[in-house]
């Protein structure tokens, strides 16, 4: 079962947010995106990073992805 950083089970909504965050991280790691996609994915990932941080779902750094 998926948990937050304090070990609590996540809600279905939080699961959705985590899935979106994971998908954006995967996209930001790809080298084949055109500039318009690469940079906007990073902006979107920064927003989702903020959501998962605010909700205590994840806490990590994304500088190596250029975010």
């Amino acid at each position: 079962m998926e948990t937050d950083v304090l070990g609590h089970p996540v809600t279905p909504t939080e699961e959705e947010l985590l899935a979106l965050y994971g998908a954006l991280k995967a996209l930001a790691g790809r080298a084949d995106l055109p500039p318009c996609a690469a940079r906007n994915v990073r902006k979107a990932l920064a927003c989702l990073w903020q959501v998962v941080t605010d909700l205590d779902l994840r806490f990590e750094q994304l500088y190596d992805l250029g975010v």
Binding site: V5, W49, D54, L55, D56, F59, Y63, G66
Partner: protein, 451 residues
């Protein structure tokens, strides 16, 4: 858009039980110190010198194993390895923004870099504060701010945009034009320093405008100086604007606001404890002080890891009180009276400690005062003197003789009988400020200053 909103920007964490909040802080602190040790030569060097390893962090009390970080160390690192020193934990190419401290202390400014996600975080913390004071998507928010390299209200601008308000950047224009724009655009919320909020009122009065009745402003959010939590300053601002006045504070070194006053206006500022860890230590001995005791604010930022800030000595003077002091339901502790000034602002005059904030508290009690300045000088190369220069409102100059006596007595009484000189200066002669006000002028020889 919903017509009723949560009073909290982040209901989950703003009402988190204290034990869970501390567990969250420990998790983040461990993660951040591991990151800093692995990636920042500055922190690795300091941690090694102190014999600290992130794995030693088992409880929050263990944080005292982490060495305190000073501005002087940071400046020295910058000077040794221009431009940013060896504090950086990632490559400069990952940055999207450069800012520097205001330089109001007269020292070498601190240079900072931030990434895309850092700026997301910077604006996010402003959202906590703006939302907490009552700013909503229907609001029109005006920033009376110069938009330069000093970080000032940059984060607030993005925070207000993020929460959906209409943002008006009031940069690069005269005070007169700003007053006109506030009226023309139906502004509901003004963000500025307390000093500049007064300046806008003065300008409006000269233009025949009463901001309390002629504008739609109902919220005034002030930062950059201690004034927002000084009762006399707040009362005068609220009267002049016909608006609620709230205090917020941050620092360039962190990049954003980290304490804010909620809509309950407790004359204290909630600490955003899910994103920062704030300790209050004795300024000389470095031991933690309890609730209700004055101490130095020491900050760890969980948000900006480009240049990690861990146990950073701010020199800010604060008094922490428990979250139950405020009835808003937030579980974050507060700083009663906000940021009360800086420990290094203290001036020693003939053996008595004088803080500019304490002087301002007394001077601002008098509505006839338009502006003031504290001037410290040396008599006959021997004795330190303190003079409060007072500028009265043009229509109130007849009150001077009585006011002078009252001010001299009140200032002396509040400072162990120390004699204050109180002088009147002509209307419009003292400087006005847009950013941080510098009302203390030290005219003593550089080698002989006691403060």
């Amino acid at each position: 858009m919903p017509t009723s909103y949560s009073p909290y920007w982040n209901p989950k964490n703003e009402t988190l039980p204290r034990d869970e909040l501390r567990a969250l802080q420990l998790y983040k602190l461990r993660n951040l110190s591991e990151w800093a040790y692995a990636r920042s030569p500055f922190h690795r060097r300091r941690f090694d010198a102190a014999g600290y390893r992130p794995a030693q962090l088992k409880t929050l009390d263990d944080l005292r194993r982490i060495p305190l970080m000073t501005r002087e160390e940071w400046m020295a690192s910058q000077l040794e390895r221009p431009l940013f020193g060896d504090l950086l934990a990632t490559q400069e190419v990952n940055a999207i923004r450069y800012h520097l401290t205001s330089g109001s202390s007269g020292r070498v400014p601190i240079r900072v870099l931030d990434s895309t996600k850092d700026w997301e975080w910077i604006s996010e913390l402003w959202c906590y504060g703006l939302w907490g004071f009552g700013v909503r998507p229907e609001d029109v928010v005006y920033f009376a701010f110069g938009y330069g390299s000093f970080i000032g209200f940059w984060g607030a601008h993005y925070g207000a945009e993020k929460l959906g308000a209409l943002v008006i950047p009031g940069g690069a224009q005269s005070t007169e034009n700003r007053v006109r724009q506030i009226l023309e655009m139906g502004v509901t919320t003004v963000c500025s320093t307390p000093t500049y909020a007064f300046r806008l009122c003065q300008q409006a009065t000269e233009m025949g405008i009463d901001l309390a009745t002629d504008s739609r402003v109902d919220k005034l959010i002030v930062s950059g100086e201690p004034g927002g939590c000084i009762p006399a300053v707040r009362r005068r601002l609220e009267q002049a604007w016909g608006a609620r006045c709230g205090d917020v504070a941050g620092m360039t070194e962190i990049g954003t606001l980290v304490v804010f006053e909620c809509a309950h206006q407790p004359c204290g500022t909630h600490i955003i404890e899910d994103h920062v860890l704030e300790e209050v230590l004795h300024p000389e001995r470095g031991e933690p002080v309890g609730y209700g005791e004055l101490g130095e604010r020491v900050v760890t930022s969980f948000g900006r890891a480009f240049m990690p800030l861990i146990r950073y000595r701010s020199r800010d003077m604060v008094m922490k009180v428990p979250h139950t002091t405020c009835g808003c339901g937030r579980t974050s502790d507060l700083y009663a009276g906000g940021i009360r000034g800086r420990w290094d602002d203290m001036q020693l005059i003939r053996g008595t400690n004088v803080y500019p904030r304490a002087v301002e508290e007394i001077v601002r009690e008098h509505d006839a005062v338009d502006e003031f300045q504290i001037y410290i000088w040396r008599q006959d190369d021997l004795r330190d003197e303190i003079t409060v220069r007072v500028e009265l409102k043009p229509n109130r100059v007849a009150e001077w003789p009585e006011l002078r006596e009252k001010l001299a007595a009140a200032l002396s009484s509040a400072h162990e009988g120390l004699r204050f000189n109180v002088d009147q200066v002509a209307c419009g002669t003292l400087p006005r400020f847009e950013l941080k006000a510098k009302r203390l002028v030290d005219g003593r020889p550089m080698t002989a200053r006691g403060g």
